[in-house]
Symmetry: C2
Subunit: 355 residues, 2 copies
């Protein structure tokens, strides 16, 4: 039987992982030119940015959560790529307070150059992660294409009155983050062949971890969540800014408390950055300020996350017990900031400060 050399998936990609994502600015300029009809009343949340989950109300007790994401390999092992892509896609359902029920795969792979066994492993990783989430992979579409890409379309269910919006962050709230930052720098180091997957195991395990927090929380803590979002491609700063703007609040972060993977700062200092580090900085331009002088630490807050943690804006009364309930499953969970009243209450835009 022929022996093939081990295939490193990241080396099959020309455009790198999340870097192949179209920048938010460009996408917005395209979407601004498309005429959308007014949303019917049952569309509770649409995705103007084409990036977040949407909510469709079926009746007074049931709404659908809809989300879709796919990308090129950011890790080398097919099974891990499948697990991460699934956890990443499922995350948006959790970030809205929903539970995923079905998923469909989006798969593009080069029939001629990638063996079927790679695809089997990739799908197995996705099936296992979707099953662990209590959902079912019920279908999908597969094409022959030049570059491997994989992701999921996910449908979840949520009670329409219990949707975790990103627009209800309140003055005095405490900000909690459930996973470390740095997957962008870690996977950039992997792609440059500076490290192996084993060297960044903390990052891989974190990306595979489902953002299912509800089952770990008491009722009091759950009802103390005012706003939630998952931290993904736009980095902590980008997603926090979206939440601060939507809530018309200012967020104050305690930079030293923000969790990061063990080698994230080392890789940033060595310059293992992506295009998204720059576009995420541009995206938040003029709205983010820093109380320290350390450009490398700034990069951490712009670092694009794949399957990043949840950023929660919670009532101060429940913050401590919530961290206690989450920490066994999400060991990096930490209080990372607080919510101030927006300095410009008549402006729709919020602002961020990292002390």
């Amino acid at each position: 039987m022929l022996k093939f050399p081990p295939l490193r998936l990241t080396q099959t990609v020309l455009k790198g992982g999340c870097a192949a994502k179209v920048a938010a600015k460009e996408l917005r300029s395209i979407l601004a030119q498309v005429r959308f009809p007014p949303n019917p009343a049952d569309v509770m949340v649409d995705a103007g940015s084409f990036d977040d989950a949407a909510i469709f109300k079926i009746n007074s007790t049931t709404a659908l959560v809809q989300t879709l994401d796919f990308f090129t390999p950011i890790v080398d092992t097919p099974r891990n790529f499948g697990r991460i892509a699934a956890a990443n896609a499922l995350s948006d359902v959790y970030a809205m307070g929903g539970r995923p029920v079905t998923a469909m795969s989006i798969l593009a792979f080069p029939l001629g150059t990638i063996q079927n066994s790679v695809v089997v492993e990739l799908l197995q990783g996705a099936v296992d992660t979707v099953s662990a989430a209590g959902a079912s992979l019920v279908g999908g579409h597969t094409i022959d294409d030049d570059t491997l890409k994989f992701g999921l379309s996910v449908t979840g269910l949520v009670h329409p009155e219990h949707v975790w919006s990103n627009a209800n962050s309140r003055e005095g709230d405490v900000l909690i983050l459930t996973k470390p930052l740095g997957t962008g720098a870690l996977t950039a180091a992997l792609k440059r062949e500076e490290v192996s997957e084993e060297d960044i195991r903390d990052g891989i395990e974190s990306m595979c971890l489902l953002n299912e927090i509800a089952s770990h929380l008491g009722e009091r803590e759950k009802s103390g969540i005012h706003a939630a979002t998952d931290v993904t491609g736009f980095g902590l700063a980008g997603h926090a800014l979206n939440m601060a703007r939507a809530s018309a609040q200012s967020f104050h972060f305690y930079s030293s408390e923000i969790p990061r993977f063990s080698r994230a700062m080392e890789f940033i200092r060595r310059g293992f950055l992506t295009k998204a580090h720059r576009t995420n900085r541009e995206y938040t331009q003029g709205k983010v300020s820093f109380g320290f002088k350390d450009p490398d630490l700034e990069e951490l807050f712009f670092d694009p996350q794949t399957s990043g943690g949840l950023l929660l804006s919670v009532s101060a009364e429940v913050a401590e017990t919530m961290v206690g309930q989450l920490i066994s499953r999400f060991p990096a969970t930490a209080v990372v900031g607080k919510v101030l009243k927006s300095n410009a209450p008549h402006s729709e835009a919020g602002a961020l400060f990292f002390e």
Copy 2:
């Protein structure tokens, strides 16, 4: 202002449209190696072939219909490509008896070589078609990629007791087809630059047409539908065979009654075929027989359709009135065959005969 030469979308694609789809045989061999957990009871229909719509039961009156499809351009005009991709993806929901409620876009395009205005037109076509279906485009994901690809993930609703399965075709049923065949040969001619989009306008209009038949039918006709499927990439023979097998019946087609686009046979005779013509023939090998000697006509029944019509297996009592109700919206609608009892009642496989 700079003037760009008109861009013909089909000329931007290396692998052709539906030809980029992975053949059913290859896909099945991959999926057979993935370990899927048993479906929970609420998954009423999964998609073992990764190609059809799945059904997830929410409660006794509501189930979700889930489907996903995307492909490279098969026509030149961006607006038409968006309309066709949307009608094609929505079709699977109609084929299950459902009504679509939300859609999300799957978009990959070369930022460097395709102007944003092309993407705006494409999305506008999709938004218009999704809106015409009474559904909302609520999000999606966009990446920078070498070859333009577009499609939708669609969620619909259906009453769990009124799902149009493809497994309930009954002896004595009449087979009705609602659109002509030949989109594979038409778009192959377009890709070879043998014709313009204007020359195949009947095919373009048909592919843009939503397969929404329920609102045109009386209650008696609706309840006379025993089985339904939409005719897409596997051609009439492939999809009919799936239905015949699932129903353990034999289908007898009246070849001369099967509708076709005006120039479909001309293009087939001139050899404008795709890889799918061959793989569709292989897929049905040994299960399809012909009562005539005309290899070109055989190719028509293997011709891969994009946004093809519905194949309905209906009670003989309602067939005539059903055709009458559909013909104003779907002018090619015709009785194309009948259902016989399977010759091999103990075999799971059905068979097709084209007289």
